[in-house]
């Protein structure tokens, strides 16, 4: 058994999982992205996958890796690489290392939390919302448009609406107000996403394998993640959610092939549960610190359990996946 973590050691979720794995005595290697210039990779792909990662401090046999936790940033954004510039060999090397490791993580039989392919739907919010709707959650009415008159009609129809990015870039939710009317003509430049505003209470649910950790978010902000910027208070506390909603979260994560997921829910004033988004690489420590929920410990156990099951032909996650699909179909 060998667990590979890849990212920046000081980054909170990665550090928390690493600490748990060490505490549990599970063989773990942390590949520090900052060592990218000293990182060498050897990869051979045919009917099976073999390879090594070598740094001045480590020699990792990829064939021995049984589970992976991915938290990499784009290596081109590392100060050393950015400074070297796009034409430098350092830049090209960083791209090659990222590409090789992400490519390997797509096909390795090891448990990967989470595979890049499974994380990708989060990059197109309406695409992911359609997946979420298909898996049994209510989603807000959504319009993506270049037509100012269509926005006006949508606004009049729903009373209050919000706008947010279509992609994962600058993904922040804001309510549309009178101050935006003059700028509505700008939507003609690029399809822009608008959603019906759902009043209610926010919840963040972390699914780790089959474990579910729910927290309630008390905030007046349109997007509580940015509440502090407007000096608005946010309170997060552990809670229980109805069992059927909990089960739907499990099914959602499973069907989306995400052993780890951060699911954003809102319970409307009428008691209807809406899902806005599934975060495939959640910064769970923000919630763990506020609630005391042992999320990093659950991730560590998932990584260890996933690796144990590999030799018997499938992880717990895969079993849950099959069950989740059966539930959806059934």
């Amino acid at each position: 058994m060998l667990i590979l973590l890849w990212g920046l050691p000081g980054e909170s979720p990665l550090a928390a999982v690493y600490e748990e794995l060490v505490r549990l005595g599970i063989p773990t290697v942390l590949l520090d992205q900052r060592d990218v210039l000293d990182t060498e990779i050897e990869l051979s792909v045919g009917s099976n996958i073999q390879g090594f990662i070598r740094t001045p401090y480590q020699n990792i046999d990829l064939g021995a890796v049984t589970a992976v936790y991915l938290r990499p940033y784009d290596s081109r954004r590392l100060p050393e690489i950015a400074k070297a510039g796009a034409t430098s060999s350092a830049w090209q090397h960083a791209i090659a290392v990222d590409d090789a490791l992400l490519g390997w993580s797509e096909i390795t039989p090891a448990l990967v939390v989470n595979r890049p392919q499974a994380m990708a739907p989060n990059g197109s919010k309406p695409y992911q919302l359609e997946q979420i709707r298909g898996l049994g959650f209510s989603v807000p009415e959504t319009l993506v448009t270049t037509e100012p008159s269509a926005v006006q009609a949508f606004w009049e129809c729903h009373g209050t609406i919000i706008y947010k990015s279509v992609s994962g870039t600058r993904s922040r939710v804001s309510r549309l107000g009178a101050e935006h009317v003059e700028r509505l003509a700008n939507v003609s430049c690029c399809p822009t996403q608008f959603q019906q505003y759902i009043p209610g209470r926010d919840y963040r649910v972390h699914v780790v394998g089959t474990e579910v950790f729910a927290s309630e978010v008390i905030s007046q902000a349109d997007d509580y993640r940015y509440a502090a910027l407007n000096t608005e208070a946010t309170e997060i506390r552990a809670c229980r959610i109805p069992q059927d909603v909990e089960e739907r979260c499990r099914v959602l994560a499973t069907a989306m092939n995400l052993p780890l997921a951060g699911i954003d829910l809102r319970c409307s004033l009428e008691g209807e549960w809406y899902c806005f988004e599934v975060n495939p690489s959640p910064g769970f420590t923000y919630y763990q610190q506020a609630t005391g929920q042992p999320i990093s410990s659950a991730i560590a156990r998932l990584l260890a359990a996933g690796s144990c099951d590999r030799t018997s032909g499938g992880s717990d996650f895969l079993k849950t996946y099959a069950q989740g699909i059966a539930n959806i179909v059934g």
Binding site: G46, N122, S124, P126, E130, R133, V166, P191
Partner: protein, 235 residues
């Protein structure tokens, strides 16, 4: 209406649209995404509209789509101020992924969340998928170091290409290779695929695959037209 989603610089796509003029084919470029008229309702396609070749059309009028761009390139967004091009390209790309995925008509190929042309597999992923299907492969070796990478050498002989369009297979190859190509397309869940082999005989090695087949071949173009017109197309 048939729609070809392509770069404004894609001459092959332009020629294809020209040859399909009788079928009402039109080119959809990134410029169309900066025109008033798009309405994409997520929960219903009723009242949804698109802009194709500068004209607003009802989505239900579109009977088939061929996609020829892997993503929206910011370099093509000349209508957008330079400072915003990168963000707008990401937004347009994310929008097209959703829009193309939701269409009820045949789409070659359906996009994936990372690639408008279909699954954005790296060469080693295609190779691994082929090997899992029992197709003969040569292991692909790669060595990456700051001192210099060693990448796979290109084949000494030009590869033999098999093009898959739905159930039709093009290329002068043994039937076994044609079958392998179709099986690989099934594994990738695509209906348009170019598969490269080391030779035309049974037992040839798989060399690679891509989602960018040569559409200038009249046979391939006809097969695409037939697929999009409902003959073998999957909705």
């Amino acid at each position: 209406m048939l729609v070809v989603v392509a770069s404004r610089y894609d001459k092959a796509a332009e020629a294809l649209v020209g040859s399909w003029a009788g079928q009402g084919a039109s080119l959809l470029t990134c410029e169309d995404l900066s025109v008033v008229g798009w309405r994409h309702h997520l929960t219903s396609s009723k009242d949804s509209t698109a802009v194709v070749g500068g004209q607003v059309v009802g989505v239900e009028q579109i009977v088939g789509v061929l996609t020829r761009i892997p993503c929206v390139f910011e370099q093509e967004l000349l209508q957008i101020v330079p400072a915003d091009r990168s963000y707008v390209a990401a937004e347009m790309n994310a929008f097209l992924i959703s829009w193309l995925s939701r269409l009820k008509c045949p789409v070659l190929n359906r996009p994936t969340p990372t690639y408008l042309l279909g699954p954005n597999w790296r060469p080693q992923q295609w190779l691994y998928a082929a090997a899992q299907l029992g197709i003969p492969v040569h292991p692909m070796r790669r060595y990456i170091a700051l001192s210099g990478d060693v990448c796979p050498k290109p084949p000494e002989m030009p590869p033999v290409t098999v093009t898959v369009v739905g159930d039709r297979i093009f290329g002068s190859v043994d039937q076994a290779l044609a079958t392998q190509a179709r099986r690989l397309a099934d594994a990738a869940k695509v209906d348009l695929l170019a598969v490269h082999f080391s030779g035309s005989e049974s037992g040839a090695d798989f060399l690679g695959a891509d989602l960018w087949p040569d559409i200038s071949s009249p046979n391939v173009a006809d097969a695409i037209l037939e697929y999009l017109s409902g003959g073998g197309g999957k909705c």
